[in-house]
């Protein structure tokens, strides 16, 4: 009898991905969420407004570049700056959108009296929570993918590689998941949509602004002269838990101008001739003690991942306990 032959690694992987995709698409609650979200006028307004904001940033940045320089090398660096500016705009708007998408998901079902009917079906409580979160994050993915043509402009200008794109995508995915999981915890814990939404936005504000503001208390006021800046102690910890600092570090490592990549092209568009290239990328790192020294954005990514898992676990626990009193 012939021994079973293991499937090649690529096939196994694609099978796993296929099963995961099937699990999502086979969940009727996730499909229902996606359909109902797209049917309301809210989604059209959200998508249009979001693309207008990011498109305006992209247009002004590109116009600034075009008006200020014809130098090929400079424009190549500007591609990187445009990418950074667009990435910052996308991350900021996604942070504003995610709590609003996730917070009403379970609390809304409860408020409208549809949750009881869902719970009376064989769909398990954890299936409901996961489906709602996946549907909300799928909406975020749609928003991000809607900006793809703008990112293509930056890519074609040069100065942006696949690695930068993947790093940005990973940072955005984990950050969105973290905010989404926190919003889900509020949604399963509170019975009404309005309090759940307020608490979700407060949690987002605390996560984004808290460590960022606190970092200034420990920050060295001088500009970095070295291309590698390592934060230690309390400042290192604060930077590791601050998504804003993590995003800044990610942009600084990829762009000649860091966060200035957003500002510089905009200034250039408003005042042609003032566009300048920057000194070069800066690597922000964080001393993680026994874990060694990490890139700051990697440390933030890890922290956001842990926070997302913890929030999701708490959401599942709370909802499962409350589903059947």
């Amino acid at each position: 009898m012939a021994a079973p032959v293991a499937a090649p690694e690529g096939i196994r992987r694609s099978g796993t991905v296929s099963r995961a995709f099937s699990a999502i698409t086979a969940n009727p609650v996730a499909l229902k969420e996606l359909r109902l979200r797209m049917r309301g006028w809210h989604s059209a307004v959200l998508l249009t407004g979001y693309l207008c904001v990011v498109g305006a940033v992209g247009y002004l940045g590109y116009a600034g570049i075009a008006a200020s320089s014809s130098d090929v090398v400079q424009v190549g660096g500007a591609g990187s700056s445009l990418f950074t500016g667009l990435a910052a705009a996308v991350m900021a708007t996604v942070a504003l959108v995610v709590p609003g998408l996730v917070a009403p998901s379970v609390s809304g079902e409860r408020e409208h009296g549809t949750l009881e009917l869902l719970l009376a079906t064989p769909v398990r409580p954890r299936g409901i929570v996961l489906a709602k979160l996946v549907a909300a994050l799928a909406m975020v993915a749609l928003l991000v993918l809607g900006c793809a043509p703008l990112f293509c402009i930056a890519y074609m200008l040069g100065g942006v590689g696949v690695r930068e794109v993947l790093e940005f995508a990973a940072f955005l995915a984990v950050g969105s998941s973290c905010l989404g999981a926190m919003g889900m915890l509020a949604s399963v814990s509170l019975r009404r949509v309005a309090p759940a939404t307020v608490v979700s936005y407060l949690a987002m504000l605390v996560l984004l602004a808290g460590p960022f503001v606190a970092t200034f208390a420990w920050q060295d006021a001088s500009s970095p002269e070295s291309p590698v800046v390592t934060a230690t102690g309390v400042q290192g910890a604060l930077e590791a838990v601050s998504p804003v600092m993590g995003a800044q570090a990610l942009m600084a490592s990829n762009s000649a101008c860091g966060v200035g990549g957003l500002v510089t092209p905009l200034v250039g568009s408003l005042a042609p001739g003032t566009f300048n290239t920057c000194d070069g990328p800066v690597q922000y790192t964080t001393d993680m003690g026994p874990l060694g020294t990490w890139q700051t954005w990697e440390a933030t990514l890890a922290f956001d991942g842990v926070l997302a898992i913890a929030s999701l676990g708490a959401s599942l626990l709370v909802f499962t306990k409350r589903a059947f009193p």
Binding site: E109, T114, E116, L117, L118, A120, T121, P122, V123, F324
Partner: protein, 296 residues
Amino acid sequence: MAGAPPVAVRAQALEKSFGAARALRGATFEVARGEVFGLVGPNGAGKTTLLMVLAGLCRPDAGWAEVAGANVATEAARLHRLVGYMPEHFGIYDSMTASEYLSFYASCYRIPRRKIERAVGDLLAVVGLVPKRDTTVGGLSRGMRQRLCLARSLVHDPEVLLLDEPASGLDPRARAELLELVVALGEMGKTVVLASQILAELAEVCTSFGILHEGSMASYGTAEELLGPGADLEGLFLCLTEAASDQEADEGGSAEDPSGEPRECALQHVGRAQERGDLQEELQDGNRGEQRWRRP
């Protein structure tokens, strides 16, 4: 016992509290398979809590219950496949069409996709909503929504239906149509537990009744067992609930009027000399909660 109809719903000493409020206090009853069981009780009697416990949406603090052979506390997944539940107040997804609404719940019950379309068509025909299949649920009248929700509770062809005030808030015509549906379901062999405060409509539809008062089943049985010739459900209900309240006030004392006279109202409504003695005895023994009267 040979020849006895199989039991579809069986509850024994169910207890449920929400904080300090005791919603169920030892409710015990049985419903035979194929019966349309009318669950009667005043506001706050515990009807909704009892139905939620039977639907597996609420765990009892004490006691046990089985619905279609599934234990409500330990076999929730199986129970949900065997039971159709329609709450009194339910939400809808306004932007779904009627057929999408049923299809969604059918997929929640993991009905194969190839069967869903046919099942949805059949259900819409049963509840008379075929012309509205592509109308958004938000655009349906209240009566139509109630019928659609009834169809939703049937989407997985359950053995037992638990309907909580299904006709509340409907105009007389819509109410009559909905109750006709319930009768038809009973004739199809479904076991239906129907909670309502409108006794007249229950008397028309149900084959057996249970009177729930302050979390206890004051009495239950078939229409013949509970109501003698010339008796009516409303009179029995008023008498039993009043007697039970007085007993509670007296902490188990005899069910007598303040004047000391026995509760003649109950006797009038049962109407037979034999039952006259049984009822009087049961009302006086202080064991309210698990009384069941049967004809000899």
